[in-house]
C-alpha cells in the first residue's frame, strides 16, 4: 500500500482544521492532531504496488442499499470501490417518493398539515412549524404570544428527541448495537409522552394550526416537563461519558467523513452538519423567527468537520435546547394570549403571492415555499428539506475512505428518507 501518499479528492481547503469563527480558534485547532485520511489509489494505474501485474485490481461497482439496514430507509449508494476504498459514491434516492408536493397542491392549506408530519417523521413538530409559518406569512395571520412559546417549546423538545435518536442510530451504525440507541429512545419516549398529552399523537402530532396550536397544554403537561428537565442533564452527561472519550468511537469517528467548510457552504448544507464543519450558522440566531430572540443559547460549532464533530455538536445542541426550554418554562406563565388566534381561519384562502418560511429544524434549514393563486389550495408547494440537501455531498464526504466508513458518515448526516424523497 502506498501509505505515504495523501490524495484527498478535493484540494483540502485552508479552513479545515482551522478556526471558523472570526474570534479565532488558534489555540483549539484540533491540537494539531494528525487527521487520518485514507489512501486513495489512482484511478489511472489501478494499482499502486511495484509490480502492476501481480496485484492488478479493478474498480468494482457495488450497490449499498436500497434495502440495507444502514441506509436509514430505502436509499441506494452506487459505490465504486477499489478493494475497500471508496473511489466514487453516488447517492441514488427516490425510492420513497410519494408525490408529496403534488398531493399538497391538490389539498387545501389545512389538509397539508398532517402531510408535513410525514416528511421528517422524527420531527413532526418542526415540520408543522415551518409549514404553519409559511401559511401565516402568506395569509397574514398573527400568532399569539403563548402559542409562539408553545411552538418553540415543542420544537426544542423535538430537537432533543431527534438528536437523542440520531446519535443512537449513529452509534448503532458504528457497531455498538442498540446500547446507546436504547438509552436515547428512552428519553425520546418521555418526550413523545409529552407530545401525546398535548397533541394526541406521539409522532404524527399534527399539533400546529394557522395562528397557533390546536389545543392548549393540558394541566399535567408542565409538571411532567419539569420532571423531564431534571433528568435531561444527567442523560446528556451520561451519553457523553459513554461515548465521548470512547476509544473505539474516536477511532471510527475522528477524521472520518471530513466535510470542509467551503464545500459544505457550496453544497448549501445546513444544520449540525454545517456547524460541525465550523460554520456558525443557525437560523435561530441569523434570522430569529418566532420568539427565539428572547432566549439565551449558544451555537456550538465544530472545528474539523468530521463525524466526531457532528457528534459533539449534536450533544451540545441538546444542552442548548434544554436551556431554551428552561427559559420557556420561566416565561410561559406570563405569556399573554391564548393558544390560538381566535380570528385565524383554518380554511385559509391567502391572497395571490408567495412566501418562504424557514426554521432551524433539528436537521437543518427546513423551508416551505408556497405560491398562492388566491384559491384555497396552494398553487405551488415546495419543501426545502434539510435531509435531502445534506445528503448531496455524501459522495465527496466518502471518497477516499473505506466501505465501513460510509455507513458511519451516512449516519452522521442524520437523514430521514421520508424527507429526502418526499
Amino acid at each position: 500500500m502506498n501509505t505515504g501518499k495523501l490524495a484527498f479528492p478535493m484540494p483540502l481547503p485552508a479552513g479545515v482544521g482551522t478556526p471558523s469563527a472570526p474570534g479565532g480558534l488558534e489555540g483549539q485547532t484540533s491540537q494539531e492532531k494528525p487527521v487520518r485520511i485514507s489512501v486513495r489509489r489512482s484511478r489511472v494505474d489501478g494499482c499502486s504496488t511495484k509490480d502492476p501485474a501481480m496485484f492488478k485490481t479493478e474498480e468494482l461497482q457495488i450497490n449499498i442499499g436500497p434495502q440495507h439496514p444502514s441506509t436509514h430507509g430505502v436509499f441506494r449508494m452506487l459505490v465504486t470501490v477499489d478493494g475497500e476504498t471508496i473511489i466514487d459514491l453516488k447517492p441514488v434516492f427516490g425510492y420513497l417518493h410519494r408525490n408529496h408536493e403534488q398531493i399538497a397542491e391538490q389539498n387545501t392549506y389545512l389538509q397539508n398539515m398532517p402531510y408535513t408530519d410525514r416528511l421528517d417523521y422524527f420531527n413532526s413538530m418542526a415540520n408543522n412549524q415551518a409549514y404553519a409559518m409559511a401559511v401565516e406569512k402568506l395569509a397574514g395571520i398573527e400568532v399569539p404570544e403563548r402559542a409562539e412559546y408553545i411552538r418553540v417549546l415543542m420544537v426544542e423538545l423535538t430537537r432533543i428527541l431527534n438528536h437523542a435518536g440520531a446519535l443512537g442510530f449513529l452509534i448503532n451504525d458504528m457497531g455498538m448495537w442498540q446500547t446507546q440507541l436504547a438509552f436515547g429512545m428512552r428519553e425520546r419516549e418521555k418526550i413523545l409522552d409529552l407530545f401525546e398529552m398535548a397533541s394526541g399523537a406521539r409522532m404524527m402530532c399534527n399539533y400546529f394550526r394557522f395562528g397557533g396550536v390546536v389545543r392548549d397544554l393540558p394541566p399535567e403537561f408542565m409538571p411532567k416537563l419539569k420532571e423531564l428537565l431534571v433528568a435531561m442533564p444527567a442523560f446528556v452527561d451520561e451519553l457523553e461519558r459513554l461515548l465521548r472519550e470512547n476509544e473505539i468511537l474516536m477511532q471510527r469517528a475522528e477524521g472520518i467523513g471530513i466535510l470542509p467548510k467551503e464545500l459544505a457552504l457550496a453544497y448549501s448544507v445546513t444544520g449540525p452538519v454545517l456547524r460541525g464543519s465550523g460554520v456558525p450558522y443557525d437560523i435561530r440566531k441569523a434570522e430569529p423567527y418566532s420568539v427565539y430572540d428572547r432566549f439565551d443559547f449558544d451555537v456550538p460549532v465544530g472545528s474539523v468537520g468530521d463525524v466526531y464533530d457532528r457528534f459533539l455538536v449534536r450533544i451540545e445542541e441538546m444542552r442548548q435546547s434544554k436551556r431554551i426550554i428552561e427559559q420557556i418554562v420561566e416565561q410561559l406563565p406570563d405569556a399573554r394570549g391564548g393558544h390560538i388566534n381566535p380570528r385565524a381561519r383554518q380554511n385559509v384562502r391567502p391572497p395571490v403571492g408567495d412566501a418562504y418560511a424557514r426554521i432551524e429544524s433539528p436537521k437543518g434549514e427546513l423551508g416551505f415555499y408556497l405560491v398562492s393563486d388566491g384559491s384555497p389550495r396552494p398553487y405551488r408547494y415546495k419543501v426545502r428539506a434539510p435531509s435531502f440537501i445534506n445528503l448531496t455531498p455524501l459522495g465527496d464526504m466518502c471518497r477516499g475512505y473505506k466501505v465501513a466508513d460510509v455507513v458511519v458518515i451516512l449516519g452522521s448526516i442524520d437523514i430521514v428518507m421520508g424527507e429526502v424523497d418526499r
Binding site: P19, A21, P114, R186, P218, E247, P300, V301, E316
Partner: protein, 428 residues
C-alpha cells in the same frame, strides 16, 4: 474558543480527551461504567420522568399504558345513550376536510316527503387509509365524530377496515369515559344541538342502527302515537311493552316549546288585524308564560293541586298524575294561544295566575321524574306528545279561524277542549 453573539455565544466544541494523562482504554471503561449502571438499574422500575435508569417498559398485553385524553387514533361516531339518536346530522364537514378523503356518507331522507333530514343514512370510514389527523373531530359542529382510543385494529381481513356506521357507533358514555374533560367542554352545546335535530327527524331516522330493540320499541311507540292521534282513548290503554324512550320531562318540554311556537305563530299572524296595538306584548307574554307553566307542571310530575277535570279518560283506573299534568298544561297553552289570537284583555290576569302557580309547586319535581320512569313513562310521553299536537292544532285553528275558533269543533279535540275551556274560564 467562544465568540460572543447576541444572546449567546458561538462555542467550538471540545474534541477528544479532556485530560491528557488518561490511560488508554479509560474511555472504554468509563462507558462500561455507564452500561453497568443501567444494568444494575434494570432490576427496578423506572421512577418517572426524572429518572433515567430502571426498566421503563410496559408488559404490554397485561399492562396497558394510560392514554391521555387527547389521544387520537381512529374516528368514531357518537350516539345519545338515552334516546339512541346519533349526533351526526350529515353536514359533510368531515368528509370535506378529510385529507386522505376516506370519509363517505349519505344523508337520510324522509321517506314520506323525500326531503333531506338532519341525520345520516350511511357513514363509511376507510380505516386503512385514515391518517388519524383528527381534523374530522375538530371541524364537527355537532361533536358527533370523535377520536377513539382503541389502537388494536390489526386484522387479517382487509375488508374489515372499511368501517360502516354500525361499527362506528359508540354511546356518548363511552367517549365520556375515555375523555371526560374534553367531553365536558362540549357536552352542553352538543346535547342542545341534538335536541334540535331530533325534532326534525321523523320516525326512527337518525337512530343508531345497532340498537335494534330500542328502535323496535320506538316504532311501537310511534304506532301507538299514531293510533292515539285518531282515537284519543288509545293512550290510556295498556301501556306499551317497550322501554321508555325519553323521560317525560323532555317530552313535556318539547310539548311546551311546540305550544309556545304555535301560540307565537298565531299571535304573529292574526294579531295585527284584530288586536289593538297596545295589547300585543301582553298577549305574547301570556302565551309564553303558559308555555313555561306547562313545562313546570309537567316537570312537577305529580301536581297535587292540578284539578282532575280531564275528561275522555277511561272509566277504569285513574290516569297517572304526570299525564294529567301534561295534558292540563297543553290545554292551558292552547287556551293562551287562543286568547292571543283573540287579543282579549284577560291575558294579564291569566299571566298572573300562571306566575303564581309554579311557586306553589312542591319541590318534589326532580325526584318524581326518575321515580315515575319505568311503568308510566310511555303513557306519559304519549300523552304529552298528544297534548302538544292538540295545542298546536288549537293554535292553528285560532290563527286560521280568528275569534270564532274558540268553540272546538273537531272530534279529536272535543273531549279535552271542552273542559279545558271551562278550566281556563275558571282561572280568568
Amino acid at each position: 474558543m467562544t465568540v460572543k453573539i447576541e444572546r449567546g455565544q458561538i462555542v467550538t466544541v471540545e474534541r477528544g480527551k479532556r485530560t491528557a494523562r488518561r490511560l488508554p482504554g479509560m474511555g472504554l471503561l468509563d462507558g462500561m461504567a455507564v452500561v453497568w449502571k443501567h444494568w444494575a438499574g434494570s432490576f427496578r422500575k423506572n421512577q418517572g420522568f426524572n429518572d433515567i435508569h430502571g426498566v421503563f417498559t410496559y408488559e404490554y398485553p397485561e399492562e396497558r399504558p394510560k392514554l391521555p385524553e387527547a389521544y387520537r387514533n381512529m374516528p368514531i361516531l357518537l350516539y345519545d345513550d338515552e334516546t339512541s339518536h346519533e349526533l351526526c346530522t350529515s353536514c359533510f364537514q368531515c368528509e370535506r376536510i378529510c385529507p386522505p378523503q376516506v370519509i363517505h356518507m349519505t344523508q337520510a331522507k324522509d321517506p314520506a316527503t323525500g326531503k333531506p333530514v338532519p341525520a345520516v343514512a350511511e357513514f363509511v370510514i376507510e380505516y386503512d387509509a385514515c391518517m388519524s389527523c383528527g381534523f374530522c373531530a375538530e371541524v364537527c359542529p355537532f361533536d358527533a365524530i370523535k377520536m377513539d382510543h382503541e389502537f388494536e385494529l390489526s386484522t387479517a381481513d382487509h375488508q374489515k377496515l372499511t368501517v360502516f356506521k354500525e361499527q362506528l357507533n359508540r354511546p356518548i358514555s363511552y367517549y365520556e369515559r375515555i375523555a371526560p374533560t374534553m367531553w365536558a367542554e362540549v357536552r352542553d352545546g352538543a346535547m342542545k344541538k341534538l335536541q334540535g335535530n331530533i325534532k326534525r327527524r321523523p320516525d326512527v331516522i337518525g337512530m343508531a342502527p345497532n340498537l335494534a330493540e330500542k328502535i323496535a320499541a320506538r316504532r311501537r311507540e310511534l304506532e301507538a302515537a299514531a293510533a292515539a292521534a285518531t282515537a284519543p282513548a288509545a293512550p290510556a290503554a295498556a301501556p306499551a311493552e317497550g322501554r321508555k324512550l325519553t323521560p317525560e320531562e323532555k317530552a313535556a318540554k318539547l310539548a311546551a316549546i311546540k305550544a309556545a311556537n304555535a301560540a307565537k305563530k298565531a299571535g304573529d299572524t292574526v294579531e295585527p288585524p284584530v288586536a289593538p296595538a297596545g295589547a300585543a306584548p301582553a298577549d305574547e307574554k301570556a302565551a309564553r308564560l303558559a308555555a313555561i307553566r306547562a313545562k313546570n307542571a309537567a316537570r312537577k310530575g305529580e301536581a297535587p293541586d292540578a284539578p282532575p277535570v280531564v275528561a275522555g279518560e277511561p272509566a277504569g283506573e285513574a290516569p297517572p298524575a304526570d299525564e294529567k299534568a301534561a295534558r292540563l298544561a297543553a290545554i292551558r297553552a292552547k287556551n293562551a294561544a287562543r286568547k292571543a289570537a283573540e287579543g282579549s284583555d284577560g291575558a294579564p290576569v291569566e299571566a298572573n295566575v300562571a306566575a303564581t302557580e309554579p311557586a306553589a309547586a312542591p319541590p318534589a319535581a326532580g325526584a318524581a321524574t326518575s321515580a315515575a320512569e319505568a311503568a308510566t313513562a310511555p303513557a306519559d310521553e304519549k300523552a304529552a306528545r298528544l297534548a302538544a299536537i292538540r295545542a298546536k292544532n288549537a293554535a292553528r285553528k285560532a290563527a286560521g279561524g280568528g275569534s270564532d275558533a274558540a268553540a272546538p269543533t273537531t272530534t279529536g279535540n272535543v273531549d279535552s277542549g271542552g273542559p279545558g275551556a271551562s278550566d281556563d274560564a275558571a282561572l280568568s
